[in-house]
């Protein structure tokens, strides 16, 4: 059992709008084992990005972390001083975002932007900073980095910009990288380059990664552990093989069944009925109950995230003694999908 670099316990982040509390992240508990990749998957509005921003203490008004703890290497991030937090960001925990064009500053060359992090975090001068920046660009596979370093973001293609973002995020060799939909805006051939690159750099630097995505394919390719989020909560957590082999939560199963596959023939997709409830209309009990094909009376109460025999953590009444619905219900029918 490896050590956990990050240990999130019962994290709650809410937004206060017009006197209402909207619980964007509602009791998330997660661990990131050292050197491993944790995937967080979910649809829009599930709270996956807000969870990531909470880790970095980047939640602004009207949002607020209202409860829980985030333990990073023994340090409690919810109550470190802002100056210490600034030091952690970029130095120990780095983040890359979805849209590389809006995350890079358009009026500075990529060299200037890379040097900035060396100056802030390591106090390096221009000459030394440039040398390190060129090394870093080379590491992310940018050809002729000594020329590229004087270019502006608009002069680079989308894939190259994302590689510059990665170079910047990894400049100080962080222990944890949070990648929030790093390839969603990119074409597939470029996506595969970026994902492979992140994987190789992870091994070289020995860092841990949190991969946030809506794409189950990306999860299967890159992650060791997966947390499935729905409406601000984790509904299922397992290692990647268990999750795809033996999904237990009806939502996870619904996601897998509605995914059109390019690698096999399917007759009919089985969609999840309805849509995600609006944040101010959250059901009191299990949040997935209104869309769940198996929902029963007990689902009007909130189930807990509990560990099952085969290793999945599942938030569902079906796997408890209190289950009052159909006995022996088959949530995942392997035959119909493969």
């Amino acid at each position: 059992m490896s050590e956990n670099i990050l240990d999130i316990n019962d994290l709650r982040t809410s937004f206060f709008v017009e006197g209402n509390e909207i619980k964007a992240v509602d009791g998330v508990t997660l661990q990131v084992p050292e050197g491993k990749t944790l995937g967080i998957v979910g649809e829009s509005g599930s709270g996956k990005s807000i969870s990531a921003l909470s880790i970095l203490q980047l939640i602004d008004d009207p949002g607020k972390i209202v409860g829980g703890s985030i333990d990073f290497n023994g340090e409690e991030l919810t109550d470190v001083k802002p100056s210490r937090m600034r030091n952690i960001r970029g130095n120990e925990i780095s983040m890359i975002f979805q849209e590389p064009m809006t995350s890079l500053n358009p009026v500075y060359t990529i060299g200037q932007q890379l040097r900035e992090s060396y100056k802030i975090h390591e106090g390096l001068g221009k000459k030394e900073g440039t040398k390190r920046a060129i090394e870093m660009l080379e590491m992310v596979g940018i050809p002729s980095p000594d020329k590229r370093i004087d270019q502006y973001p608009y002069e680079l293609s989308g894939g190259m910009r994302q590689r510059v973002m990665i170079a910047m995020a990894l400049a100080c060799k962080p222990e944890l990288l949070i990648a929030d939909e790093p390839t969603t805006a990119l074409d597939v051939t470029i996506q595969s380059q970026i994902l492979e690159l992140i994987k190789e750099l992870q091994e070289e630097i020995g860092m841990s990664v949190i991969m946030i995505t809506h794409d189950l394919g990306v999860i299967a390719e890159t992650c060791d552990y997966v947390a499935v989020m729905y409406c601000g909560q984790i509904v299922e957590y397992a290692d990647v093989e268990t999750l795809f082999d033996n999904p237990k939560h009806p939502y996870t199963v619904g996601l897998l069944n509605s995914l059109p596959r390019h690698d096999m023939d399917q007759d009919e997709l089985i969609p999840i009925k309805g849509s995600v409830p609006a944040p101010d209309e959250m059901p009191a009990g299990c949040r997935f109950a209104p869309r769940c094909p198996h929902a029963s009376n007990i689902c009007s109460q909130m189930p807990a995230l509990e560990t099952q025999e085969d290793g999945n953590d599942v938030r569902c009444w079906i796997y408890t003694d209190q289950w009052d619905g159909e006995k022996g219900v088959k949530v995942y029918d392997r035959e119909s999908t493969s």
């Binding site: 649809e43 829009s44 596979g141 940018i142 050809p143 002729s144 020329k147 293609s157 989308g158 894939g159 190259m160 074409d187 597939v188 051939t189 470029i190 996506q191 595969s192 380059q193 994902l195 492979e196 690159l197 190789e200 809506h214 794409d215 189950l216 394919g217 990306v218 999860i219 299967a220 390719e221 890159t222 990647v240 093989e241 795809f244 082999d245 619904g254 996601l255 897998l256 069944n257 509605s258 995914l259 059109p260 596959r261 390019h262 690698d263 023939d265 399917q266 009919e268 997709l269 089985i270 969609p271 999840i272 009925k273 849509s275 995600v276």
Partner: protein, 366 residues
Amino acid sequence: MTENQLLKVANLKQYFPIKGGFLGRTVNHVKAVDDVSFTINKGETVSVVGESGCGKSTTGRAILRLDEPTEGKIEFDGQDIVSMNKNEMRKMRSEMQIIFQDPYASLNPRKTVRQTLNEAMEIQDVVPKNERNDRIIELMETVGLQRHQIDRFPHEFSGGQRQRIGIARALSVNPKLIICDEAVSALDVSIQAQVLNLLKKLQREYDLTYMFIAHDLGVVRHISDRIVVMYLGKVVESGDTKAIFENPQHPYTKALLSAIPVPDPKNKSERIFLRGDVPSPIDPPQGCRFHTRCPYATDKCKTEEPLLEEKDSVMTGSHDVACHYAKDIQSGRHKPTYEMTDVRKALDEEGGDNESTGKELEDAKN
């Protein structure tokens, strides 16, 4: 075969002028679509796939003459539509409709569902005035919306529901062909599956023909009968869905398919990494347009443009490829020139893309 044909696109070219210099003269062209030909038969779904900038959306828009095509022939149901005047074309559009990617942007925010659907029927004059209300309710129920939502505005609907309104609007004029331009790309998977199933159901019920423009190959495999793969304004491969997915011939199609992440952790396929990025369509490479990134390119590929022709001996049915070496690659006689399964080596080989940037850099310094 030909009487079954609904749409025939022949040698379609779409160039957009670049204005500049003194007096705003046209200095160059973006060759978005360059000599594209394909046909769509009645009742089938043909997908046009490719990465951003390959010209797939432009092709769709040119077919509806939302942009005037520069050159080429488009026949719909036996009629040449390029030579039609504005009025004739407007009438024609009741037969061919389009659903756009962004359901937020393609609906008028100040019109209710009733007004939106009414407007389409009014313009095309397809249903007598006194029957329109019933038709609107019927359409809403067909696409899975509730009749009490008829007087709601777009902002009161979710993304998936808005896309259903877009589908209802397209259906309202009884079209034969619907062009779906990334119609499900903006939706979450669970909603995407609902809309895909709806489109399939409607096709069966109304005998519709779809032209699907998409970049998600999972969606494409699920919905299509035939596939056209585009790269930089050209068709590089076309054929039956099964043939394209199970026996891709063009090196680009192979790389594209290998790049998609498989949602199965036990089944990690061998990746082919392409060097560099897609070149600019303003000054596309000579010869085969893919040669700057192709692992198999030779000198011949740099000068001689390959034709789209049948090269597959394994699969029957139609399967055309535009590659000089398709057969030799398949048999293993023609070997790749760079290490295409190693991402670092592929990235270092920026190929043709790098040459041009190098030149630009020199120019900038002078």
